[in-house]
């Protein structure tokens, strides 16, 4: 059995011109899709009424102070759950690029700086952020109480409060976050051309593997050879941690975006973190990361490694949206300015000095990680009785 598998891997590598170990390493970028586990910190995770409530809230601009901004204003389904802008605009300008929420349940930390340690606590932040939706816990409590459909779903998802007016604002805000998280857990991408290639490699099916375009296949080898997979690892192509890849973090006016350095401080000080009173996980396991996370001077200017799935839907790229195309991103890695990488930083990257055809190949590989059907409006779930 084992011998057959090894022979298979060697044979298929030879047939496709892949290097030793490439088959094993490429296979590690799957299988896809992954089924995320229930979030133990959110008792509403997986709850049908909570998912329906979260779906409504996500598209409801009344969640904002002026009734004009919804989550979906920036996370637009048809744009791969992003907004197509370099930097987001809510009530005012935001300093960072809007990330997709596709497959967001697989992440360990949320936001570019990881300032949230759960999907539900991340979801509260834009509601009360004056730049994004500018509302308050009291505003959310009032909305959920005053709208019959929302109130009905809320009662089903979280248990009916004896006196509706008694839902304290903070609890209403947390419930909104947990319902939004339950909904976003269902926003997942499907298979990309790469996944068929990956599965063919795993089965030892050289014929099926050969259907993957040659340029993308060369790009895949280049991706491994360039050590991209050290950070962009696993089925979602991210290690879920933070790095400095030489994207400038000056904001102008003498200000900087300190990235993970601030993110760690914020998550540790966050009243809604997993060490706080709203974590539903009694085992303590979910909070291990928060209890132990540490900022060092290397954290300065580090940002979360993004997933590389569905990039064709989510331009522009990087935490500040500075690159409009994947070609520009690849050129960034090819011409890397080592001066820009923080001196306390890790040593992982070097300018790749790729030829134009190598850049084409790497771009072809990155493009093959997109599920063409991922940028669409999901059906609205209905819950009987509400």
């Amino acid at each position: 059995m084992v011998l057959a598998a090894i022979v298979g891997a060697t044979a298929i590598a030879a047939a496709l011109g892949l290097g030793e170990g490439d088959v094993r390493r490429l296979t590690a970028h799957g299988p896809w899709p992954q089924s995320p586990a229930r979030d133990p910190s959110n008792a509403a995770s997986g709850n049908a009424a909570a998912i329906a409530l979260g779906h409504r809230l996500f598209f409801d601009p009344r969640l904002s102070v002026n009734g004009a901004v919804a989550c979906a204003t920036c996370h637009v389904p048809e744009r791969g759950w992003t907004d197509g802008r370099a930097r987001a605009v809510g009530l005012t300008q935001v300093e960072r690029n809007t990330p997709t929420i596709l497959d967001v349940a697989l992440h360990r930390w949320f936001s570019w700086d990881g300032k949230a340690d759960s999907l539900w606590s991340q979801s509260l932040k834009p509601i009360v952020d004056p730049r994004e939706m500018g509302a308050s816990a009291a505003h959310v409590a009032k909305l959920v109480r005053s709208d019959a459909a929302l109130a009905c779903l809320h009662a089903k998802a979280f248990g009916a409060p004896r006196d509706r007016a008694a839902v304290e604002p903070e609890r209403a805000l947390v419930h909104a976050g947990k319902a939004l998280a339950a909904f976003m857990e269902t926003v997942r991408s499907g298979r990309a051309p790469f996944d068929d290639f990956r599965d063919a490699l795993a089965r030892g099916d050289a014929e099926a593997a050969a259907r993957y375009p040659a340029a993308a296949r060369r790009g895949a080898t280049l991706f491994l050879k360039s050590d991209c997979h050290v950070c962009h690892i696993g089925p979602a192509f991210t290690n879920g941690e933070f790095h400095d890849v030489g994207v400038p973090f000056a904001l102008g006016g003498g200000r900087v975006d300190a990235g993970r350095f601030e993110g760690v401080k914020r998550v540790r000080a966050d009243r809604f973190n997993l060490l706080g009173p709203w974590n539903d996980d009694r085992s303590g396991v979910a909070a291990v990361k928060t209890r132990h996370v540490e900022a060092t001077h290397a954290s300065f200017g580090q940002f979360k490694t993004p997933s590389l799935r569905n990039l064709l839907h989510t331009a522009p790229y990087m935490h500040d949206g500075r690159y409009a195309t994947l070609r520009e991103v690849v050129r960034h890695y090819s011409e890397l300015d080592m001066e820009r990488i923080h001196t306390h930083g890790e040593q992982l990257l070097r300018p790749l000095k790729l030829s134009p055809s190598e850049i084409d190949d790497l771009v072809a590989f990155l493009e093959s990680l997109t599920d063409p059907t991922a940028a669409r409006m999901p059906a609205r779930p209905s819950i009987s009785g509400c």
Binding site: R108, H229, V230, C231, I233, G234, N239, G240, E241, F242, V288, K289, R291, H292, V293, E294, T296, A298, S299, G345, E346, Q347, L348
Partner: protein, 133 residues
């Protein structure tokens, strides 16, 4: 138990430390490190360290004379020049036994797992390689 054994061994002959440092029953060490009269036996929980998953390290420390104390468990990737993004907490369970919680290896490659041991006015660092695929 372990500490008593180590002390006795220390009285008899310090060269015998290596034999005297026995794992407690039910403790199957993943590794044994020895330097300058200090022995560290350790295992991890879970036994297989997975990329991007938190794990704990359980250690038993023995040494010459007064039992040495384990003061820090840490890890680095020397080639990449970075450490972990998490600071482990260390708790003494008595009898030279310790548990470090909250370690996590976030990248594939070679990690150096280190144990700082202090005793008799000396600090010794014992380290071992762990390769994550």
């Amino acid at each position: 138990m372990i500490r008593a054994a180590a002390v006795v061994a220390g009285l008899v002959a310090s060269v015998a430390i290596a034999e005297a440092c026995e794992p407690p029953s039910g403790f199957t060490p993943r590794g044994r490190l020895e330097s300058a009269g200090v022995v560290v036996l350790f295992r991890t929980l879970p036994p297989v360290i997975a990329l991007g998953r938190h794990f704990s390290v359980e250690a038993v420390v023995c040494g010459d004379g007064t039992p040495p104390a384990l003061t820090r468990v840490d890890a680095r990737m020397p080639e990449h020049r970075h450490g972990m993004n998490y600071r482990p907490t260390l708790a003494s369970k008595g009898g030279g036994r310790y548990v470090a919680d909250g370690l996590m290896f976030h990248m594939p490659g070679r990690w150096e797992l280190s144990f700082d041991v202090e005793g008799g006015g000396r600090r010794t660092r014992l380290a071992t390689d762990v390769v994550i695929d």
